[in-house]
Symmetry: C2
Subunit: 269 residues, 2 copies
DNA sequence: CGTTCTTTTGACGAGAGTCAAGACTGGTGG
DNA sequence: CCACCAGTCTTGACTCTCGTCAAAAGAACG
């Protein structure tokens, strides 16, 4: 357990409280869970397919992708996890990993052993309900990804992904204005959207050319939220983030264009 | 509650027992849940987007699709549910429907009110765990669909879908040999695979032309399981069906081809 | 027995993939 | 401090899968 930080799991509790009511006892049970911090290097699989895992992973810093794979090696990212996300809470219910987990950037995680998690869920029905709800929301995002990949063209897909990430970073309070950290490469984005890296590059250029987004080294800035939402056909309902999500673009009139900025060439997306 | 059948929820219990251990008390609690049968006509949405639902739906007979939708009206099916599936157990955890549910054929469902389901989960931790696990497996299927739509071509996608359905019908004991009921139209299949109906038609013809599958009025027969698995790049692990799933093609040497049968034109797929 | 829904076909176009090469960046080590 | 190297991003030319549009022919159903 991390002794340096008195309550390393406070962000996890905050997440649970965003959708589930927990009493004082349950809150203490969550905060009292043991956790072990770990640093994961970029491109490292820290959970392999079929592996039987014994702990859930909470993202403190960085970016994690859940990977599915083709026989001929084509990879598809089925979910991305940003700081304050629990990557594989579902492994508590089904320990055999049916997708690999890879760090897309240098990432800090907290490992929380299954045993105490299961104990907490068994002892407190409200915690069991909260964990279940967390998994269901995760699945709702997954369903939206099926729609994204199945029924939208490249431009819409990318816009939709960026909208989703904007809302999710907003919810964790880690976003300043309409700019958020996103240390993934274009190849990663290609795997999220079911496209090729080349096509992602061209699509990203198109969105930049329209002054809808700006791409920095390891971050995205949204210049025109309303237009991005329109392009991506985005409706945040499925994220179940509560009323805060509706305020993403507030105070940012889409007419007010900042001066055109030269796109950051070579920058990671 | 259906008074005609003493234990209408036996199939639901069987499903839960396939992945979770439940004691005698918990089993009785499941079987004792109230349920209300209902007939749903083809193409009828029995749960609309955003609707706050008050009961879960168990499929007794027929076929149900979970629909996502584009702004420009393009639909994408994110999940199909066959008899013995619980369509929206997740609604117990999150009552606001974030996808519509539509019957793809005349369907009989059992409605089970949320209240007693929630009670059972609260009272018996093992039941809460079983429900959670059920949802997680559902999500695993969803993740595989993302891979299917994102990283496989039309031919593979269709083969993969048919393999999945074959395994799932197998698990419910409703499949005779390698033939199973599948009363969906080609337009429905298009919405499952993220393709157009025209392309589904051509792809299906190709698979028939290779003697891999046979299409009947409301059923599919798999003529060459091994080849279908190879084409679809299928690995049943994600379905979490237990050892039985591995025996799908058992006793069915792929070399033994039955006589070529004229495809059933006009037949629903 | 005709209406409606599905399936089937053909011709054509467009979005995305493939291949290959070059440019820029950041990090490493001499 | 500079040269080099690996990883990313960028571009162009060409290909191909899949979408679009339109029409006809079978089934299903009342």
């Amino acid at each position: 357990m991390s002794l340096s930080d008195p309550a390393p799991l406070q962000p996890f509790l905050t997440r649970l409280l965003s959708h589930s009511a927990l009493g004082e006892t349950e809150r203490r049970a969550i905060l009292g869970l043991p956790s072990h911090p770990a640093q994961i290097q970029t491109h490292r699989d820290f959970v392999r397919l079929r592996e039987r895992v014994g702990h859930a992973c909470f993202v403190v810093e960085g970016l994690v992708g859940r990977f599915g794979q083709n026989r001929d090696g084509k990879r598809q990212i089925t979910a991305v996890h940003i700081p304050a996300d629990m990557v594989n809470l579902q492994s508590v219910a089904v320990p055999e990993a049916c997708s690999a987990l890879q760090a897309l950037a240098v990432t800090t995680i907290l490992r929380i052993p299954h045993e105490p998690l299961r104990d907490a869920a068994t002892r407190y029905p409200a915690i069991a309900a909260a964990f279940w709800r967390e998994s269901v929301i995760d699945a709702a995002v997954l369903a939206e990804w099926v729609v994204n990949v199945g029924r939208r063209d490249a431009r819409s897909r990318m816009a939709h992904l960026l909208c989703e990430l904007a809302c999710r970073t907003q919810a964790t309070g880690r976003r300043v204005g309409l700019r958020f950290e996103f240390p993934a490469t274009q190849a990663h984005v290609a795997d999220m959207l079911g496209l090729t890296p080349v096509h992602v590059n061209r699509t990203a250029q198109a969105l930049r050319g329209e002054n809808v987004i700006r791409i920095e080294a390891h971050a995205i800035e949204i210049l025109d939220w309303n237009r991005l939402v329109a392009i991506g056909d985005f409706d945040p309902g499925y994220l179940h983030l509560g009323p805060a999500a509706a305020e993403v673009g507030a105070g940012r009139p889409s007419a007010a264009q900042p001066p055109r900025i030269r796109p950051a060439f070579q920058a990671n997306m």
